[in-house]
């Protein structure tokens, strides 16, 4: 009962807060006056002054995209260098050695692409400097990149007969200064209040009751956790991530973290509604996301609470924190997988097969159920395009979205955007489960091993970053494959999305009439869900059947491997 109330409070908070944040962000990005302009306006202006950005100059899609690629490339190289030279750099209090080239590559890609896949354990591998100047900075800017892309797309959809999609540098600056930074500061303060650690001191050595010396790692965790959650990054300060009491000390901090995971992505849907001057359009997408979210959550909870024939228990607590219990662990796992966050408060490897399936399915859909900040919405809009095209023909008109015709070019780009992550998940995992280098990392036999490999590449392709664990990925093979997987999953979608934005911006807007295919009603919501499940989901049915699905039926038969 108590758990049901917590769940309801979470959903209500989401539905209430998302539109408010969405409206605020719309004001920020449209350059209007808002609450924080008097407070942080000086910061925005000084960024422009120092860097020489002409904030009012609009860009076409190619210039905008070039900005994105250049900025991210430089960020990645910088982060790579920081890692392989950390011994000679300051703030390395524990004298951690230089990171291997392949792990450094993997980690640099991982944080630049907003994935935060970690093949290492944070406290034992990276210095405070790398964590702060490398990872935390990327946590901010990778999130801002996602938002910048979706802003360009939204402008492309809502403006008419223009090449102008906004200014990438301005969008980045405003996102960081007015959205990510203030929310992170607020959130850090609350977390520290709840007991999350925030210190530069040395690790503590304690003597346990058994008389054993134990090193307790510390660090400036709270500030990094705030942005890792808000920016759907997910890379933990500590290896145990949000299951670690120094990261996530109390049920209340757990509740706030879960909300932080989802709130910006959900809010952006309403920002889109403001740009489109139609709240109904925003609600249609929000409700689609909410239904898919709730459906996955319901299936997961049902799977966890039903009888496990292998362990002969229901409400399996294996791999979960007793502080949080089953419901909050599952809610966290579903939230973190739909939002491309990837931070965890329980071991996904120990989820029941169906909960694992839901988590994996969320990743495979391409992180579009709320999804990563920005990336979730643009991924969802790709599916909107496909839905509009297939179903829109049925009303007897060339398909339109927001009054703009959806034509061959958009379809080509939308298919590319769906195909890119799909290639990573299917092809890369097929390679991994065939060659010795791929199978070497497996700790589990049976179908669960396949699930672990599938999950890893789904996580990379969806830029999620969570892992089924159980798979040792700090090898040359996995570091490289995952690294390329993350790059394809990120930019294989961003590039087509930007092309669509550019092409749509040039089109005229046909006024709405009774002959228009409506994209803001229940019928459309159901259609969109149908297309997402069939096109986005069913194509993964064969590998899923051989992984978590067969595992589930085996468990019902009382068999385990």
């Amino acid at each position: 009962m108590n758990e049901a109330i917590q769940l309801i409070i979470f959903l209500v908070a989401l539905v209430l807060l998302a539109p408010i944040l969405g409206k605020f962000m719309a004001k920020v990005f449209m350059g209007e006056n808002h609450l924080l302009k008097p407070v942080f306006g000086w910061l925005e202006r000084s960024v422009y002054r120092v860097s020489g950005i002409k904030s009012e100059v609009e860009m076409n899609w190619k210039t905008y995209l070039f900005g994105i690629l250049l900025f991210n490339f430089i960020g990645m190289v910088f982060l790579f260098l920081l890692q392989i030279f950390q011994v000679w750099l300051p703030l390395n209090t524990e004298h951690l050695p230089n990171v291997s080239w392949h792990l450094a590559f993997n980690t640099a890609v991982s944080f630049m692409t907003n994935t935060n896949w970690q093949s290492y354990s944070g406290e034992n591998t990276l210095s405070y400097l790398v964590q702060m100047l490398g990872l935390t900075v990327q946590n901010f800017v990778s999130a801002a990149t996602g938002i910048a892309v979706v802003l360009a797309l939204i402008r492309g959809l809502t403006r008419k007969t223009t090449d102008e999609l906004g200014n990438f540098w301005t969008d980045m600056t405003r996102t960081v200064v007015y959205v990510l930074l203030p929310l992170s500061i607020l959130f850090t303060i609350i977390l520290v209040g709840q007991g999350t650690v925030q210190t530069f001191s040395h690790y503590i050595t304690a003597t346990t009751l058994q008389g054993v010396h134990q090193v307790i790692p510390l660090g400036p965790a709270a500030s990094q956790i705030a942005i890792k959650d808000l920016g759907t990054n997910g890379g933990g300060f500590f290896n145990a991530n949000s299951a670690h009491p120094f990261e996530n000390p109390t049920p209340f901090s757990n509740f706030l973290i879960m909300l932080a995971l989802i709130i910006i992505s959900a809010g952006l849907v309403f920002t889109y509604g403001h740009y489109a001057k139609s709240k109904r359009q925003a609600w249609a997408i929000f409700i689609t996301m909410l239904i898919l979210f709730a459906g996955g959550l319901a299936l997961s909870l049902w799977a966890e609470y039903s009888q496990n024939n292998v362990l002969n228990i229901a409400g399996n607590m294996e791999g979960k924190e007793t502080r949080f219990g089953v419901m909050n662990s599952i809610l966290y796992s579903v939230t973190t997988t739909v939002t491309s966050n990837g931070s965890v408060n329980c071991m996904h490897d120990s989820l029941s097969p169906l909960s694992g399936l839901v988590a994996m399915f969320n990743l495979m859909l391409g992180e579009i159920i709320f999804g990563g900040v920005g990336s979730g919405l643009y991924g969802m809009i790709i599916f909107v395009f496909i839905t509009v095209f297939i179903a829109g023909l049925m009303v007897g008109r060339t398909p339109e979205f927001l009054g703009k015709k959806v034509e061959a070019f958009e379809i080509k780009m939308a298919i590319l955007a769906v195909l890119a992550p799909s290639i990573v998940i299917k092809l890369f995992s097929a390679i991994a489960c065939t060659i010795p280098a791929g199978l070497a990392g497996l700790n589990n036999a049976g179908p669960h091993g396949l699930s672990e490999i599938l999950y890893a590449f789904s996580s990379a392709a969806g830029n999620n970053g969570s892992a089924f664990a159980g798979l040792n990925t700090n090898t040359v093979f996995y570091n490289l494959m995952m690294g390329f997987g993350m790059l394809i999953g990120r930019f294989g979608v961003i590039i087509p999305v930007m092309a669509i934005a550019g092409n749509m911006a040039r089109k005229k807007i046909t006024p709405e009439s009774a002959g228009t295919f409506k994209t803001d009603n229940w019928l459309f919501v159901l259609l969109l869900i149908g297309i997402i499940l069939i096109i986005g989901g069913l194509t993964f049915f064969p590998p899923l059947a051989l992984g978590p699905i067969v595992e589930h039926f085996l468990m019902n038969l009382g068999v385990t491997y």
Partner: protein, 696 residues
């Protein structure tokens, strides 16, 4: 042409030819134009190789053989669908072509007539056609006037007048001159007349893919690649699973099974029917006697949301009709009606006839024989702008009855020393204000009253416009009338907007405005001065009676020259798009059931428990007999559904004039939900038949 049986899908000859063509189309260079079916073709070739190899090595597999057979059938069925649509189009075109058998022409060379073959005529040649000659090619009359029988093209038996200059100078090759003699300048090169172009379009050889079709092919190809990826990766997952189940690697999925999985998942249904849908859309339009110059135009017709319609002929009957008699002071309405009827007895104009009819209906005044009255009829002339009768009375007095425009009658009575009352003047201006045409009647020097002539809005047109409005299409009436008249008729007909005193330039400007606001505009026109607007409009429907310039400018020609046709053209365009959408949705929805048939089948040996249970057999919700039978059933269903849907592809989905939202809800229910459910039953049924017949 209406007589042709539209419901009959195809004749024996067409079917026989289509079967032959299905095999001809196996030619890879033809097949490659349809990526989805091409993939199936490659699959079929690969399984054939497997079957042949097996046979020669003595491991013949009945299952592989049957799979191969059905894969070939899938390709052939898709080819058949296209061939049958082309056959229907060809049959339609042939009947048009009959009118173009080898005719000879009298070509004018240095003012001397010379007999040449029609096919040798070039653009710019001048030919002479006299009564009884078949016009050799499309052209413009440059000298003379003649009546022409166009029934070969239009099916309309009444001959039409064609004359040089003006808007009725265009003649079509294959029509026949009935009277008089005309000189014609040829305007088309051989093989490039309207008819030739249309024939090429329906025959499919030169058919260009339309923008929506291209987009759809991209989507279908994309889906095919995604599914190809799934299937290519399957052996890897399977190999892992075999190891995990403790099974040897030689039990991995065979090529025929993988290809079956692929063929079932890729959208073969819509892929196979796509070009048939496009061709039959063109064909349906041709059955309505509309020739489109491109498939793109038909698609654009479905997209139009603003229609510019000429008032005369489209919204109103071509002619004004008498609806009331308004007598002058001191004259009874009966006297007026009587005089009006007398004056119109020999008046063969529609207005005149309508006066006689009104007099009979209202006052039961019977028609009288003009001869008995010793009357002579005075026809309308442009100079007098009046018509009427002169009757010699019994007393020898001459009775002059005239009807005509207000101005003409005023002159007439004043010349006869009569006077033109103020009250009549008032009635006249009143009627003009209501949008009607007043016709004043006078007897010698006395004005009797006014006949109220009115534009009659076509029956049912108001409802038609209401339907269009439901579909989100705005109608704009175009008329040369003044604003008052136009407004009155617009209100009566229920159009959304009107343009009064419209010149061709106004039309062009209006189209540009609408387009700038994002609308797609359809219009009809016939005159040379309509040509710019027809060219500017997204859908320009030219009347066949119109000038060559108009016909070249538009992207469609209506052979019947019926302006209401534009509405039907829009409906055909919508139906074409709807059919594509519906079958795509159906095709994709089908995949759900196919997964449930094939996945449990191929995984039947994996992770089998000690008690012999295959865990994934739970997914076999159709309870298909054996794994082989399950896979074969899915493949057979996949092939047969193409054949089953050919009639739908040819006829198009049922069109209903309702809002987009309701159309969508209905189509999703039928083709989306239906598309998920139908294959479950279909596959189960085939599985049962296979088992019953011991085929597997």
């Amino acid at each position: 042409m209406e007589k042709r049986d539209i419901n009959q899908l195809f004749t024996r000859e067409i079917a026989v030819q289509a079967v032959k063509d299905s095999f001809m189309k196996l030619n890879p260079s033809v097949l490659v134009k349809n990526p989805v079916i091409f993939i199936v073709g490659i699959g079929a070739v690969m399984t054939t190789v497997v079957v042949l190899t097996d046979t020669f090595t003595g491991h013949f597999s009945n299952f592989n053989f049957q799979i191969t057979l059905w894969l070939w059938f899938t390709v052939l069925f898709a080819n058949f669908a296209e061939a049958i649509a082309e056959g229907r189009g060809k049959a339609q075109a042939d009947s048009l072509r009959k009118s173009r058998t080898q005719t000879k022409a009298r070509k004018l060379i240095n003012n001397k007539e010379e007999m040449v073959l029609a096919n040798d005529l070039r653009k710019g040649d001048v030919v002479v056609c006299a009564a009884g000659d078949v016009i050799p090619a499309d052209g413009d009359v440059i000298e003379g006037i003649a009546s022409v029988d166009e029934s070969a093209i239009t099916g309309e038996s009444a001959p039409v007048i064609r004359e040089s200059g003006g808007d009725r100078c265009a003649v079509t090759g294959g029509t026949k001159v009935i009277s008089d003699k005309i000189k014609i300048m040829i305007t088309s090169e051989p093989g490039n007349t309207f008819l030739d172009r249309m024939i090429a379009l329906v025959e499919g050889a030169k058919r260009q893919k339309t923008p929506n079709e291209i987009a759809l092919i991209i989507l279908l190809s994309g889906l095919t690649i995604i599914f190809l990826l799934v299937v290519v990766c399957m052996p890897a997952y399977f190999s892992y699973s075999l190891t995990a189940s403790g099974l040897p690697q030689n039990q991995n999925l065979t090529l025929p099974v993988l290809i079956s999985l692929l063929v079932c998942l890729i959208p073969t249904t819509i892929g196979g029917l796509l070009s048939a849908i496009g061709i039959s859309g063109m064909d349906r339009l041709l059955r309505k006697n509309v020739i489109a110059t491109s498939g793109k135009a038909i698609e654009a017709a479905g997209d139009t949301d603003v229609l510019l319609l000429d008032k005369t002929g489209t919204i109103t009957l071509g002619n004004r009709m008498a609806t009331n008699f308004l007598p002058a002071e001191g004259v009874t309405v009966l006297e007026l009606a009587d005089a009006a009827q007398l004056s119109s007895l020999s008046d063969e104009t529609p207005e005149g006839r309508s006066i006689v009819i009104l007099a009979k209906e209202k006052f039961n005044i019977r028609a009288r024989e003009v001869q008995e009255l010793h009357a002579s009829f005075i026809p309308f002339s442009a100079q007098t702008r009046m018509s009427g009768v002169d009757i010699k009375g019994p007393d020898g007095k001459l009775l002059q009855i005239r009807k005509g425009s207000s101005e003409a009658i005023r002159t007439f009575v004043q010349n006869n020393n009569g006077f033109y009352p103020k009250q009549i003047q008032n009635i006249v201006s009143d009627l003009a204000r209501q949008g009607a045409t007043p016709l004043v009647v006078a007897e010698n020097n006395k004005v009797l009253g006014v006949i109220h002539l009115k534009d009659i809005v076509k029956g049912g047109i108001k409802q038609r416009f209401a339907e269009l409005r439901k579909m989100g299409i705005k109608t704009v009436m175009i008329t040369g009338d003044n604003a008052l008249t136009a407004a009155a008729i617009a209100a009566e007909a229920g159009v959304d907007d009107f343009m009064a005193e419209a010149t061709p330039e106004d039309k062009l400007r209006r189209i540009r405005e609408e387009q700038a606001n994002g609308h797609l505009v359809g219009m009809i026109g016939d005159g040379t001065n309509d040509a710019p607007a027809l060219a500017q409009a997204d859908v320009g429907l030219a009347m066949n009676t119109g000038t060559q310039a108009a016909r070249e400018a538009g992207n469609m020609v209506d052979l019947d020259s019926n302006p209401t046709k534009l509405i039907e053209v829009v409906e055909t365009g919508k139906q074409l798009l709807m059919t594509r959408g519906a079958l795509t949705t159906f095709s994709i929805a089908n995949d759900v059931a196919k997964y449930f048939a094939i996945i449990p089948a191929i995984a039947s040996m994996l992770y089998v428990t000690t008690s012999g249970i295959a865990p994934l057999s739970v997914l076999n919700i159709m309870k298909l007999a054996t794994p082989e039978s399950a896979i074969l059933s899915a493949v057979i269903f996949n092939a047969l559904i193409i054949i089953a849907l050919i009639p739908l592809a040819l006829k198009g989905v049922k069109y209903r004039p309702i809002s987009a939202n309701r159309v969508l809800a209905l189509n999703i229910l039928i083709y989306g939900i239906g598309g998920i459910i139908v294959p479950f039953f279909g596959i189960k049924l085939i599985d049962m038949i296979l088992g019953f017949a011991h085929l597997i």
